[in-house]
Symmetry: C2
Subunit: 205 residues, 2 copies
């Protein structure tokens, strides 16, 4: 029963907060550190939040609710619901007044990042964010080597277009190294992506 899968085959990982007080806490780990990319980003966002560095949150998982029961004397129970495809990215918020928007993905592939990790709605969303002057990027983790890169959405859109034009269906790791920015894994915060954003903002001045 605990073997959750999204329709796209990915495991559903409940945030720790969600299950506290509800069930015995289960721990999913697929890195040596026992931390998922999502957990690392959540930890980083909490770090930013506590220090007033940035206010960035993960959006709730989009769910289509079909049936709700209302037991007397206790909370409403959702009895039937389905995962919906997200039409936006997972994370957004504000840094120095500016809009920040990103998606985080990891791959087991050591040499390239498959573009099937995104769907058209998300790409369209990123395009709209850029047109509106927002800061938009993806965080990519190569699981095997635990390397994390920040790739600005403008580059992702270019590689997406290459695929649409009949080109390769992935971004090579070399391309990510060339156009992206390596983020060394830290202790606290784990993935200090705002530092890169600062750098990019300053270099664009």
């Amino acid at each position: 029963m605990m073997n959750f899968h999204y329709p796209n085959g990915k495991r559903y990982i409940p945030a720790k907060k969600e299950i506290i007080g509800r069930k015995k806490e289960k721990k999913w780990s697929y890195s040596n550190r026992g931390m998922t990319l999502e957990e690392d980003i959540n930890e980083t966002n909490e770090f930013y939040l506590e220090r007033n560095i940035a206010v960035i949150h993960k959006k709730p998982t989009p769910v289509q609710i079909v049936q709700v029961n209302y037991p007397k004397r206790s909370a409403a129970v959702i009895k039937e619901a389905y995962f919906k495809q997200a039409s936006t990215t997972d994370y957004n918020g504000v840094y120095k007044g500016k809009y920040i928007d990103f998606e985080a993905k990891e791959t087991q592939n050591p040499t390239s990042f498959p573009l099937k990790n995104f769907h058209t709605h998300q790409i369209d969303h990123m395009d709209k964010i850029l047109k509106q002057g927002g800061i938009c990027f993806i965080l990519i983790r190569f699981s095997l080597t635990e390397e994390i890169f920040l790739l600005e959405a403008i580059h992702l859109l270019t590689f997406w277009q290459r695929m649409k034009d009949g080109g390769r269906k992935s971004i090579t790791k070399e391309e990510i190294e060339t156009y992206g920015h390596h983020i060394p894994l830290g202790f606290h915060p784990r993935i200090d992506y705002i530092k890169k954003i600062d750098y990019l903002l300053n270099s664009n001045k």
Copy 2:
């Protein structure tokens, strides 16, 4: 199980406020137009999105997922889940590169707006957004008169503090008229709040 439907045939998804707790009271109000505040705002956001005026979305309802079934040959079904209290506001996005964040509430009270419509987490969130230079406000609808006001979060925080200091537990309508900005109901878009934001941005220059 209750089978709620909007007049337009769309499935009704109860707002969390209505579900959390034990009240059976149905709190939503159909106005003469048969549109809820949320529908009006969604319509407005779609209008902005289509015209590249702004990219603003409602966040998914936060849900704590407990049990999921994976039937063969069909989509995963959430069989047990609960509504969670939101720790942020419902709407956010980007307008001209700037971060936009707001919450929308309506009241049946003709003379004042009860502060119990918010919880501490949301107020703290708004405070953090302001400190980070984001644009934060609430949209208030007085259901009986169908009047809509935009009130900047800085004023909401002041009224919240007054309550904390032992003062009244609501904002009078007169105060909202004084500190807020009336938004006339339109046809398309229904609630043109970005126009007010533009005005506020320009008057703060």
